[in-house]
């Protein structure tokens, strides 16, 4: 059965509401409007305004309220419209949610889930399009996940809610309309990376919105005789080094694809870990494909030029091979 990413997110929310009365959803226009990306459509009608709470435009306030509610027995899911807006709530996420357990000597945990949209591709320009999830992945005390598939869009919410610590979920805007044949949606995990395509010649490491591009590049490269292994990171924090290193030790080459900017990027982190853990297995320098270092522009051709594209991935992979594939 064809299921869209949007439906998967929606169903995950609905099932979470059904399974656990402590679950509440808070955010801007999650109720009457049905969610900016329509992920919570119909939930207000089914579960009522107590549990599906439209908030004022107070990101700092309602994320902090989510933290307080999580501390005191609820299982809140807080939706922030886009990662750009989440900067208004960054204080509560970093200074409170992530730190509370530690600075209280382990007395309090914050079982909070924060969902937000990330990424570019819809001509939303420089204040709605960025990929700042690496900033969150920098912070100890929270978990950061990026479901890239329909299965994970559904499957990660359950374990995220069950987790005693704050989990931030990044849903790439370009994924909501994607769909896949899925027999049944079931909980997955929020701990391991996944090999989405196995191959022998080079490891492509991607997550979120870049996974599809990496898989497209892998298909294209297979025609040229280069057999790519594609890893979907799924979890940006804590990072599953083992899956990455195991793959690189097999393929001896790696290209990291990250829609965030290159400087100080998550791609850089992956590359560093490959150097640390698999240096002597490398047969070529590790390469990366990131966004151009500009605020994402509005014009379609410029926006596309700024983002990692399949062709750029193909070129980067080919660059790791010399005369022969």
């Amino acid at each position: 059965m064809k299921t869209s990413y949007r439906t998967a997110v929606h169903d995950a929310l609905r099932d979470a509401f059904r399974d656990d009365p402590r679950v509440v959803l808070m955010g801007e226009d999650v109720g009457r409007y049905g969610g900016t990306y329509a992920a919570s459509k119909g939930l207000l009608a089914e579960f009522g305004p107590e549990r599906v709470r439209d908030t004022p435009l107070s990101e700092l306030g309602f994320v902090g309220i989510g933290i307080g509610a999580a501390l005191n027995g609820l299982r809140p899911i807080v939706e922030v419209m886009t990662v750009n807006f989440s900067l208004l709530a960054l204080d509560q996420i970093v200074n409170t949610a992530a730190a509370l357990r530690h600075m209280s000597g382990g007395q309090f945990s914050v079982p909070l889930v924060v969902r937000m949209a990330t990424g570019a591709g819809r001509q939303l320009a420089a204040q709605h399009s960025h990929s700042l999830e690496p900033w969150y992945a920098h912070i100890p005390g929270i978990k950061v996940v990026a479901p890239a598939t329909v299965e994970d869009a559904y499957g990660m919410l359950g374990p995220a809610l069950a987790d005693p610590d704050p989990v931030v979920i990044f849903e790439h805007v370009q994924l909501y309309n994607t769909s896949a044949d899925v027999e049944a949606l079931t909980p997955t995990d929020i701990s391991r990376a996944a090999v989405r395509r196995s191959g022998t010649d080079v490891t492509l490491v991607a997550y979120g919105g870049s996974l599809g591009k990496a898989l497209d590049a892998a298909n294209e490269l297979s025609l040229a005789g280069i057999d790519c292994e594609v890893i979907d990171l799924r979890v940006l924090r804590p990072l599953d080094d083992d899956t990455i290193l195991e793959s690189v030790r097999k393929t001896h080459r790696a290209v990291v694809i990250d829609e965030a900017w290159r400087t100080g990027s998550f791609a850089a982190e992956i590359m560093a870990r490959v150097m640390e853990g698999a240096f002597y297995d490398l047969d070529a320098p590790v390469a990366r494909v990131c966004s151009a270092e500009v605020p994402i522009p509005y014009a379609k051709h410029l926006e596309q030029a700024a983002l990692p594209q399949t062709e750029a991935i193909v070129t980067a992979v080919q660059g790791l091979f010399g005369e022969q594939p």
Binding site: H252, F279, Y280, D281, L282, D283, A284, P285, G319, L320, F321, G322, E323, Q324
Partner: protein, 398 residues
């Protein structure tokens, strides 16, 4: 332009593997300076350069196995201009074994053309694989990005190597023993095929020599004591100086006398095999000096670290199998030398001397000589001369 070639370190050496360069382009080389280490079937040998100049180019890279006579490097003789090229400065100069005589400021902007601008690009994985397969990455061409050497290049090289060439890594002990066996076989086979040996024996009474030695050693600490072997060596050396036809080489259908007397000493190696490296200028050395040289040489031979001149320079060989308990040894000449003196085990003998019967210590001295270069008559005189020298050991002291 001077060509520095892979030296022939012995008749049994056909090729050598360059283990290490101890100089780099631009280095000044003085006569006798050790410039490289070459792995032979017998040992890793330090190779001296006998010409002065400035290294222009290292032609044979580390790890490559080349035939004797192959040009390893070129040197510009003093005064001869080296080819101009900006010297790269990014890489720190490798520390020289000896303090560099060059000024410490910026070096002359001279370098040979063949030196690449960066270290060979080899992927970390390829480098590691090459090491485990014994492949020299410097000799294989890279097909990776920017011409780097990658795993598949190493694998290919390893495949062709196993069919074409010998392993280039330092041979393991058992490996080395097998290789040495082969080269001894080649050299001794050639010797027996080519050299018409004749053999002479003489009994040398050692009473004078041994009692002189005991008295000498008794006054000295253990580090200064001298073994009879050193005395025998000195006697052979001095005699060979007088009998030039036993000291030299048979080459190109003719005898070439050697200018100095460099006595090759047969040293058996633990675990099998044998080398006969030279002690230089034996007649000129004091006995103590000779003993030190001998001791040092044995140690180095057994740890496989000999110098090229020691391997290639012997002009005559002494073999001393006395310790093994045999009475006499009839040796095979080490080509292209023309003579080999052997000593057996000193034994107590009853001898009629000056009309009386005495018990003496005697040793069987033998001479194996190349009949193309000398005759039995001269051989007998040569052996007698050794005998006489050993009767007046104090003359051998200085």
């Amino acid at each position: 332009m001077i060509e520095f070639k892979m030296p022939a370190l012995g008749a049994d050496m056909d090729e050598g593997t360059l283990d290490e360069w101890l100089v780099k382009p631009g280095d000044k080389v003085t006569r006798g300076q050790i410039v490289a280490v070459v792995e032979t079937t017998k040992a890793a040998v330090e190779i001296e350069c006998w010409q002065e100049g400035t290294v222009s180019e290292l032609i044979v890279p580390v790890g490559e196995t080349v035939q004797v006579g192959t040009v390893l490097a070129t040197l510009a003789a003093s005064g001869e201009p080296a080819e101009e090229q900006p010297r790269r400065r990014s890489r720190p100069a490798r520390p020289a074994k000896k303090p560099a005589s060059a000024p410490s400021g910026p070096r002359a902007t001279r370098t040979p053309p063949a030196v690449p601008q960066h270290r060979r690009w080899v992927s970390p994985a390829a480098r590691r694989l090459a090491q485990s397969l014994g492949v020299n990455v410097d000799t294989i061409s890279g097909t990776g990005p920017q011409g780097s050497v990658i795993i598949s290049d190493v694998e290919q090289a390893a495949d062709s190597k196993t069919t074409l060439t010998k392993p280039r890594t330092k041979p393991a002990a058992s490996d080395r023993a097998a290789q040495m066996r082969k080269s001894i076989a080649a050299a001794m086979g050639r010797s027996k095929r080519e050299i018409p040996h004749y053999y002479l024996v003489d009994e040398i009474i050692l009473d004078a020599a041994l009692s002189w030695l005991i008295a000498r050693n008794a006054q000295r600490s253990i580090d200064e004591r001298v073994l009879p072997a050193a005395l025998l060596l000195k006697a052979v050396g001095v005699a060979a100086q007088r009998f030039g036809e036993f000291n030299g080489f048979w080459r190109d259908d003719g005898f070439q006398p050697a200018s100095g007397v460099h006595v090759g000493v047969g040293i058996s190696l633990r675990g099998g095999g044998l080398v006969a490296p030279a002690i230089h200028d034996v007649p000129e050395k004091k006995l103590g000096e000779l003993m030190d040289d001998l001791s040092d040489l044995v140690a180095r031979a057994r740890s496989f670290s000999l110098r090229s001149s020691e391997m290639s320079d012997p002009t005559i060989t002494v073999t001393n199998l006395g310790d093994q308990g045999v009475e006499a040894v009839f040796g095979i000449i080490y080509p292209p030398q023309v003579a080999l003196v052997g000593f057996g085990r000193p034994t107590q003998q009853v001898r009629a001397i000056d009309g009386g019967i005495r018990i003496v210590s005697a040793v069987q001295a033998t001479l194996a000589a190349d009949h193309r270069a000398s005759d039995g008559h001269r051989g007998a005189l040569f052996l007698s001369a050794i005998n006489e020298l050993l009767q007046e050991p104090d003359l051998l002291e200085k």
